[in-house]
């Protein structure tokens, strides 16, 4: 189940072993028969710096949302440190609209293990964890089985493939928290605590899991690494656009004819992605807006989407590539309702650590609910923008920004929809002579 029909316009690297219709996961025998663990074997014969150089050359950037160059991240780990080094996989996948990591873990779990092994080799780690959100128990079980197989075949454990290298890997379940997708909050959660973010710097490369140097990357980022080692960083880089190497998974959802997870090169035109791969807007309707990278990314209107979808082009367009979650809104979409729903989510998920986010998201959610019900005032519209602007950039982690960005972009681009809702509900009028509770 799950896998949508592949599209001829896809470039299949991460998903090259997938088959449609979907069947059991690719277990170790089949994986090895299809070039599995060959990238890792190659890495075993390379000095760590060369591995990191290869990943740098590929210009692979973090697929979790921030788009930080992976090779550079790996190079920050101090291999000479006397402390143990750790590899942590971020499989929390909580960004609304994102459902790609689960596809990778469900179909090709050994690819992820291979990616971890290569990273471990590069940074000198002997232990790693795959942190997976609690709702994905099905995927945790698949990965547990794959890890067991890897131990049996000598790809994990001590003296791996006779090389003298040691690496242990296990899964770690989350228990329902969007915030734990933020890398420092994830590390707190891994240590058995509330998922509150840490002050940075120090970054995890210096002080990460259990206070030791740690590399944290998204599932998809690790999954891209085996093919980079196998075919070279230059090959991977050439698939995408300059500084945006390779392919990525996009999750098409919302008002679209063929929703699904597809693999396209970085820089693939967003309009073509929606019209050709996604089959266009459903029910013959017109496109109103696209949320290009998960609910935290600023919204793009229908005439802003004829751009290459890579990190730099999206940033230039005032949005972000984010986690690859592309949500399509047709002409009937109520943007006030949409933003109210988005904000309800952030208010629910704010961990409460930083006041601007804890208070900001909660108040924004209330004001937006009021506007959506038609009981809002004109000044509410300005207040949304003001609140979001004052929250932006003033929190430990990016959750405050993640809530502020859609708020600012939607209220600015679709202000007329907010104005149209004002006065549409019967407003409570206090009886004459009632003393107001608060005088403004």
């Amino acid at each position: 189940m799950l896998l949508n029909q592949p599209h001829p316009l896809e470039t299949r690297v991460l998903t090259r072993r997938f088959e449609y219709p979907q069947r059991d996961p690719i277990w170790v025998d089949e994986f090895v028969a299809k070039q599995g663990y060959e990238g890792f074997r190659k890495a075993l014969g390379m000095p760590p710096d060369e591995i990191i150089d290869e990943v740098k050359k590929s210009s692979l950037r973090g697929r979790g949302g921030a788009g930080f160059p992976a090779g550079l991240k790996w190079s920050f780990v101090d291999r000479k440190s006397s402390k143990p080094k750790y590899v942590v996989v971020n499989g929390d996948e909580g960004e609304p609209g994102t459902c790609k990591d689960r596809v990778l873990m469900e179909h090709d779990p050994h690819r992820l293990i291979e990616g971890c092994l290569i990273c471990a080799r590069a940074i000198g780690a002997e232990r790693g964890w795959v942190y997976i959100r609690g709702e994905y128990r099905f995927h945790i079980d698949i990965l547990d089985k794959a890890i067991e197989q890897a131990y049996e075949r000598g790809y994990l454990g001590e003296n791996i493939l006779g090389s003298g290298m040691t690496f242990h890997l296990s899964t770690h379940t989350g228990a329902g928290s969007y915030e734990c997708g933020e890398e420092s909050a994830l590390l707190e959660s891994l240590e058995g605590k509330r998922g509150n973010p840490r002050l940075k710097p120090p970054f995890p490369a210096t002080v990460g899991a259990f206070q030791c140097p740690t590399t944290v990357n998204n599932v998809e980022t690790f999954c891209a690494v085996p093919d980079i080692l196998l075919n070279g960083g230059d090959w991977y880089h050439a698939l995408g656009t300059p500084k945006n190497g390779g392919t990525r998974l996009v999750c098409l959802s919302g008002h679209i004819n063929n929703p699904g997870v597809y693999e396209v090169p970085l820089g693939f035109n967003m309009k073509r992605l929606i019209e050709e791969i996604g089959g266009g807007v459903w029910k013959g309707r017109k496109l109103k807006a696209v949320i290009p990278g998960g609910s935290s990314s600023p919204i793009l209107t229908a005439d802003e989407i004829d751009i290459p979808a890579d990190y730099d082009s999206l940033a230039k367009a005032g949005s972000m590539l984010g986690s690859g979650a592309t949500m399509i809104c047709d002409e009937t979409t109520d943007m006030v309702k949409l933003l109210a729903r988005v904000m309800k989510f952030y208010a629910h998920e704010s961990c409460g650590w930083c006041i601007p986010c804890r208070e900001g998201t909660a108040w924004l959610a209330k004001i937006l609910a009021r506007l959506d019900e038609g009981a809002g005032m004109t000044r509410d519209i300005d207040m949304i923008d003001q609140l979001a602007t004052s929250m932006f950039g003033r929190t430990f982690c990016a959750l405050g920004d993640a809530a502020a960005m859609p708020a600012m972009s939607i209220v600015r681009k679709f202000r007329h929809e907010f104005e149209a809702k004002i006065g549409s509900a019967e407003v409570f009028v206090p009886a004459p002579g009632t003393q107001p509770l608060v005088v403004l």
Partner: protein
């Protein structure tokens, strides 16, 4: 307090997955796996986990207050979780939520009188391309319609 043999084996292995002296790392997985077995987080369970991992009760309470999947209260044997976040909302998640409430006659985080089914409105469950999606315990159901939801719930009732 003793757990099933399977769970004991899991815990024994799990504690070894964290650096020496940092076994607190196993706290959240341990609570969640134990909750799956016994249905809820009980006082007895908190004491047991506290003893096994050498963590204070209050450290466990902190975690319980934070993670939405950990719950002190008893839930239905089948916990129906309906996503109404953006991708699901765009394809009818909210209508589905209303439909489920009407069908079961219970509200958010409530359980039917016979204790068989509980209901919760949840945030994004990561099934956006197959929306609207719901979770029953850990089982995903995709592209759910009010009709298929009726069928599903009727099926859960007869299974008991």
């Amino acid at each position: 307090m003793t757990f099933s043999q399977e769970l004991e084996a899991r815990f024994a292995k799990m504690i070894g997955n964290y650096p020496p002296g940092r076994q607190k790392g196993a706290l959240i997985p341990m609570l969640l796996y134990a909750q799956d077995d016994i249905g809820q987080i009980t006082d007895e369970l908190i004491d047991e986990v506290s003893k096994r991992l050498s963590v204070k009760r209050v450290e466990i309470e902190e975690v319980l207050g934070y993670y939405t999947m950990l719950h002190r209260e008893k839930r239905g044997r089948r916990h129906v979780q309906i996503c109404t976040n953006v991708s699901c909302m765009l394809r009818g998640g909210e209508e589905l939520w209303e439909h489920a409430r009407g069908k079961l006659g219970i509200g958010n985080k409530q359980t039917t009188a016979d204790g068989s089914i509980s209901l919760e409105e949840v945030e994004c469950i990561g099934a956006c391309s197959w929306a609207p999606a719901i979770l029953v315990n850990y089982d995903f159901h995709f592209n759910v319609t009010p009709e298929s939801l009726d069928e599903l719930i009727d099926g859960l009732r007869t299974k008991q």
